[in-house]
Symmetry: C2
Subunit: 159 residues, 2 copies
């Protein structure tokens, strides 16, 4: 465990765990971990949690343009497009050029997409429930609130 053959001296307790102080690393690590848990619960639907999030946001926004969808997810337009790929390929999502401005494409769920979304939503509720159970509902709400602040324009500007 403490190997360190030919390596640096072992960390002293005081300087131990440098990375645990990094807000960014902590966030990513938590996201990786929680992602796996949600993914496992959603698995029967064949959707990854990220894909479920995409479907949810499309459903929620109604009929967003690609740019609107990307902005709402704080995601790069190109990245979002790439992620949409598998969903389009599998017939869950469809793109339509807007007639009045042919630069624009609107994203919509297909009927199959709506069905898959509703199927996955059941599983999502289960995962979400387990989270609230394990972490505490109020505590979870507080956490989401803090995270929401991190993604706000105001925070970005203050940073």
């Amino acid at each position: 465990m403490k190997a360190d053959i030919k390596g640096r001296a072992p960390r002293t307790p005081a300087e131990a765990d440098l990375l645990s102080f990094c807000n960014n690393a902590a966030l990513r690590k938590a996201a990786r971990g929680l992602g796996k848990l949600y993914d496992a619960v959603l698995e029967p639907s064949g959707l990854k949690a990220t894909q479920y999030s995409l479907l949810t946001q499309i459903y929620d926004l109604g009929n967003p343009t690609m740019a609107e969808l990307a902005r709402s997810l704080l995601m790069d337009l190109s990245a979002m497009r790439h992620s949409l790929g598998p969903l389009i390929r599998d017939g869950l999502v469809r793109l339509r050029v807007e007639a009045r401005d042919r630069r624009v494409k609107r994203v919509a769920l297909t009927p199959a997409g709506v069905a898959k979304f509703e199927e996955a939503a059941q599983l999502w509720r289960k995962a979400q429930g387990r989270f609230e159970q394990a972490f505490g509902a109020a505590r979870a709400a507080k956490l989401r609130s803090e995270l929401r602040l991190l993604t706000s324009e105001g925070f970005k500007d203050a940073f």
Copy 2:
């Protein structure tokens, strides 16, 4: 803005923003957003925040095996190996087979890797400082503490 041409009816306030209730989606979104901020600050070093995290953890653990490193980051062994690729290619990290157990490979920073780590650490401190400034130091510590809980074995079991 409210387009919704041929789309679903607009969300009522009550059901608005479905996704903001998803703990997992909130976490990923925040991670994306914060990642971009840290990345921007680290940019002069040529390292992404994720790569800086990897170097930090290698430095911190001293001379970990690949499996130890992956476990400590709650990361898939294979994923970590892939991420190590660019760092190895750029001569910052090196792998060595362990003589006593030739299945094992130990990960170590090269001298160039140590130098790059120290260079990036300066920038990281700047980013971290900005975060603490914008978010509040105590609040940040609390957030990290909550995130740490999420990544604990106990939470995974309770989930």
